[in-house]
């Protein structure tokens, strides 16, 4: 999440978090991605976001790549996320390579902090590990994405990236007038409270 660069002739530390969200098309991956990005943007962070698109999109896996940083971001894609959300079996298959150890080598150094490329610090949120709690709390398939949004906003609040309240605000703006709001709200709150 932090690494070193030379900027304006000074060595500085960059904060950069890379989040990859994945699920089946129709599970609402892009929706929760939009909310996370907006929350970070409103908080003054630099944000980039890019979906997969085209052929892959049609009835297949839906992916969203998010970068949040304190420095300007110019390249939106990455193969080593810090956080990886997997909401379906198809998505798990598709994102396997993202949790593999890369063969990129950075020389060790005392002064220089290397960026995260080895996938060893990756936090994987796999729906497989939440099947029990989702069942126990009676959360419907339709609301899985909002459950994970709750979980993600807790993680991001702990990292001082955005506040859960802000996310709630944006979520309300988007969904309060749509059918099933109460289920969504409930799923979010349970997600926030869960251990990860």
């Amino acid at each position: 999440m932090h690494f070193t660069i030379l900027k304006d002739c000074k060595i500085i530390t960059v904060m950069l978090i890379k989040i990859c969200l994945s699920g089946d098309g129709g599970q609402g991956v892009q929706l929760i991605s939009d909310i996370i990005c907006l929350a970070a943007f409103v908080d003054g962070w630099q944000v980039s976001q890019i979906p997969n698109y085209g052929l892959e999109q049609r009835g297949g896996v839906s992916l969203s790549f998010i970068k949040i940083s304190d420095q300007e971001i110019t390249y939106p894609k990455f193969s080593q996320p810090d956080i990886l959300l997997i909401m379906s079996a198809q998505a798990r298959e598709r994102t396997k390579r993202y949790s593999e150890i890369s063969n990129i080598q950075f020389p060790a150094s005392n002064q220089i902090q290397n960026p995260n490329v080895k996938g060893e610090n990756i936090k994987i949120l796999d729906i497989e590990n939440y099947k029990d709690i989702l069942h126990k709390e009676n959360i419907k398939f339709l609301n899985y994405n909002i459950f994970f949004l709750g979980l993600l906003s807790k993680i991001l609040e702990e990292k001082n990236i955005c506040k859960i309240d802000e996310v709630v605000g944006l979520l309300e703006k988007k969904l309060i007038d749509k059918a099933g709001w109460n289920e969504n709200k409930r799923a979010f709150e349970i997600g926030v409270d869960i251990e990860y």
């Binding site: 052929l55 990455f78 020389p107």
Partner: protein
Amino acid sequence: MDKTRKFLTGAEIVVQACVDAGAEMTYGYPITPATEVFTGWIKRGKKYLQTEDEIAAGFGVCGAVLAGQKVFTSTSGPGHILMQDALSMAEGMRLPFVAIVAQRGGPSSGTVIYSQQEVILACFGGNGEGLRLVYSPSNLSELYTLTRQAFDDAWHYRFPAILLTDGYSLKMRGVVGLSQSQLENILPHPLISRDKVVHWRNIYTFEEELHQEISEARKDFAAVAEIIACSESWQTKDAEILLVAHGIVAAAAKEAVDQLQARGKKVGLFRPITLRPFDRKNLDKVASQANLKKIVVIESSAGQLARLVRDQLAPEISVPFEYMQFPGLGVETETIISHFF
């Protein structure tokens, strides 16, 4: 909160630039990943026509600019190939044709996603000498300013102008500050009007006639090059290794340079902003630095940028070249960095 700070897709930014440039209309045909430029324009309530193919779109643009209307088109890949017919007429007749081209994988239908494989097509497509203006934005801010510039330069200098971007840039959302930069727009003017009768051809009877036309156009192009050829030299002072990259790959390369410099590596970046005309003056300047040991050309193609660089580099400059080529693939900062360890 800073009202000028927005979170937009590249496509939305391009559309905004076309609106701010005073474009009145677009002729287009849907093709991924350029479609959102077309539909984004339509969403703004502006005039448009969806034609039967890119050929009709391109020639619709030609007709419109002849009549003095500021218009543009947008396309990609196979559509870009079809567009070369109209671009060639625009080149021959010096028409202010503006095209937004989003590179996708090639050849053939390739991918709908991304590449840097349409560089040669943009610069030299058509059956002529490549007398067109090609801009390669490296970030969302430049996507805006270079689109504005494309309109201005096309109408000012009467060469077709191509804003050459890619699927990643148009589909990504990023933070951009679009302060209403007081860029003044050049006013369009009719090339054919009722006040004067012109007889205007693009085919000549004799070789000498064509040669004369081309000579004059080349002279004009060289003069324009003096004014608009543009590049960025990043951390190139005392560089031992010079990276050369354009567009979004240059953005990753820039990040790589910052990290490499922090580790004491003397790596710099030369970034062409106009691919055509190429900023050979500054390329030569950087490439002839005393400490330079090698040039590494990085691109999402199998050598299209490298071709331009080698062609433009002054023949008396002799530096070893290395190539990092990823046709159709994105290039991450980490990939570039790890190459140097």
